[in-house]
């Protein structure tokens, strides 16, 4: 069976994660070998996922950590450890 482009698009995410059934995986792979449009969709999606997973996309605000730990300190230096269950 030959897959049409729009059926291949349904499998892009699964293909990238390697979660497709092996038969579907093979059909998609075959299609990609000769279809430039689907290859470009796959490549661009993969590229975008690499970029969005990069730590540099989101920067912590300056002083974030200091303010967080200062606030925690107030809580932690308060009386007891967090309430204990079943002891």
């Amino acid at each position: 069976m030959v897959l049409e482009c729009k059926h291949v698009w349904e499998h892009i995410s699964g293909y990238l994660d390697g979660t497709l059934d092996s038969e579907v995986q093979m059909q998609v792979q075959k299609h990609l070998e000769h279809c430039e449009i689907c290859s470009a969709i796959l490549d661009s999606t993969r590229n975008i996922l690499i970029l969005t997973a990069d730590d540099r996309v989101y920067e912590l605000p300056l002083g974030f950590s200091e303010r967080l730990h200062a606030r925690l300190d107030k809580e932690l230096s308060g009386l007891a450890p967090p309430e204990k269950s079943e002891t």
Partner: protein, 207 residues
């Protein structure tokens, strides 16, 4: 097996914190500061609210530490708390501004990708440019909430499909479906913009 050791250390730390060595909580959460903040930021869209939400989430985690059962990773548990905190903030905000937390189109909604004839790789170094970082943040931030959540957990926080399903209280199949849609939506909105930037100017003088 660094990960297994890490998990054991976390469990030990938690036991000690509950036993009274509360200062260890600082150390326990240090690896998760970014994750919690990013999760909050993608929902609240402004740094001050996101920071406040992140702080609240850490405080909640501390106060509820004794209810952590160790049947999930501490990080996953913490992300669940953050997600709930972010969601409830948005609900409170939405008393003024409406942004539905529900699914916009239904589970069978279909997303077509942007069609390109070719793709020239965008190098990770391009993230040094604020313009590019903003573009990505905007695109992620404007995904409908259920897709944004799934995408963040899986592709930004790098949870497994099973862990994401646990946090979102949905099936693994739903995670895969939502993830696929989220990724296609991002491809659709980002690929043309990134491509245009890429052709307008080169990332490196030598590329």
């Amino acid at each position: 097996m660094a990960e297994a050791t890490e998990l054991r250390n976390e469990l030990q730390m938690i036991t000690s914190i509950l036993g009274g060595e509360t200062h260890l909580f600082h150390e326990l959460i240090r690896p998760y500061e970014r994750s919690v903040y990013v999760m909050a930021l993608s929902f609240l869209h402004n740094e001050a609210d996101a920071e406040d939400t992140a702080q609240e989430a850490f405080l909640k985690a501390y106060r509820n530490l004794s209810s952590f059962r160790g049947d999930s990773k501490f990080g996953t548990w913490l992300i669940s708390i953050t997600l709930n905190e972010a969601r409830s903030r948005i609900r409170r905000k939405n008393a003024v501004k409406i942004e539905s937390l529900d699914e916009p189109t239904g589970e069978d909604g279909h997303v077509s990708p942007a069609l390109l004839r070719d793709w020239r790789e965008i190098p990770s170094e391009s993230l040094e440019r604020q313009e590019v970082r903003h573009l990505l943040q905007e695109a992620i931030g404007s995904l409908p909430p259920i897709y944004r959540e799934t995408f963040l957990l899986r592709d930004v926080e790098e949870l497994s499909i099973a862990e994401a399903a646990q946090v979102l209280k949905i099936t693994a199949v739903s995670v895969k479906v939502r993830l696929h849609r989220a990724r296609m939506m991002l491809q659709k909105s980002l690929a043309p913009q990134l491509k245009q930037m890429n052709s307008k100017r080169r990332w490196f003088p030598w590329s």
